[in-house]
Amino acid sequence: MTSELKTTTKTIVITRFDPDRDEKPRKQEYQVPCESNWKVLDAVNFIKDEIDATVSHRWSCRMAVCGSCGMMVNGEPKLTCKTSINDYDDRVDIEPLANFPIVRDLVVELDGFMHKFESVKPWIVRAKEEAEDKATRHPVKDTYNQSAAELAEFKQFSMCINCMLCYSACPVVANEPEFLGPAAIALGHRYNLDSRDEGTEERLDIFRGEGTVFSCSYANECSEVCPKNVDPAAAVNQAKFGAVIDWAKGLVLPRGGTQ
């Protein structure tokens, strides 16, 4: 017995913005015959392919690993390739990701995020002395061994696909432009927890800088919307704890060397 694909016509409302022609963003409605197994992305692609080729949106993998297709669907940040169109009634309101400047239609400006992202040093940092020593030393097989238990400590936080739904959900990101934000802090924390990394002090300095992790008010919205169960709220609040320990250590033992 095959299941039938039913088609229902829904009104898809898309935010439109052409920087050359529009003063500010506006809404445009489309009548879309949605098949029952469609995702929201399929509906948007249908609009672009069959109705209005001027609609611009980002998408790529169609399987929730590239992080490109994030949009606000009826006010909630979603990966549109992962969200069933049948979760919604006859009116679906699709807007660009909240809290980001809008470049065109459903496409948002990502430079701000990239800057925050880079600022937390999201790579393995090794102590300076050792790096200099390696340059002059006879080359040896350079592997940093890591046990399964050590990997388990940070693995969850490494699953981020940079879809930025968490930035759209976070009330602090909406109101404090300096705040580093969930994904950047979670990634920095992922490296702090990595046994191969020696850059924790440097990252904690950044965590206590202008983009301070303490701005987080633990709304937990970021973790609610994360499609990969990274739980950035846990990372940010663990990072606060780490920053306090670092601060306390700094009171007792003045920091030398890496200044």
């Binding site: 400047p101 919205e221 320990i245």
Partner: protein
């Protein structure tokens, strides 16, 4: 041997080249029940402030002798104060329930060489300690023990 390409090749986009529309928050954000719960959680801060200052006033009266203390207790009998304290109790319970849910996952995987207990253990322990302290304090303040 590689030679230099133009120093500005593939340079990050300079601001102002394309006009962008300012960031938006969806209209339905304020209506979301999750968001309203969170805003309520923050709003309990006002209640904690008020309860705190009220309690400071009370202890101040206690330090001023029996007449001041008894007048303070009489003031607490005013229905407005009682209503406020009923609201405060609800607020404190609401804060506890939400905080106990969020607290366990904020523990780092290791503090030095020691791993904290698993999340569910912490969660239950928090409730046990909370109820224990509340029962103890209620019993002492109500004159049941001591």
């Amino acid at each position: 041997m590689a030679g230099p390409a133009h120093p500005d090749a593939m340079a990050p986009r300079k601001p102002g080249r394309t006009r962008t529309a300012p960031p938006q928050t969806p209209a339905s954000w304020w209506g979301s029940s999750r968001i309203r719960t969170y805003l309520l959680f923050d709003a309990t801060g006002i209640i904690y402030f008020l309860v705190g200052f009220l309690a400071i006033g009370l202890i101040s009266d206690l330090g001023n002798g029996p007449i001041a203390w008894h007048r303070a207790l009489e003031r607490l009998g005013n229905p407005i104060y009682i209503a406020f304290h009923v609201l405060s109790l609800a607020a404190v319970i609401f804060v506890a329930v939400r905080f106990f849910r969020l607290f366990p996952k904020a523990q780092p995987p290791r503090i030095g060489p020691v791993a904290p207990p698993p999340g569910p253990v912490i969660h239950v322990t928090l409730y046990v300690v909370w109820i224990g302290i509340t029962v103890l304090m209620t019993a002492i303040l109500a004159g049941v023990i001591f």
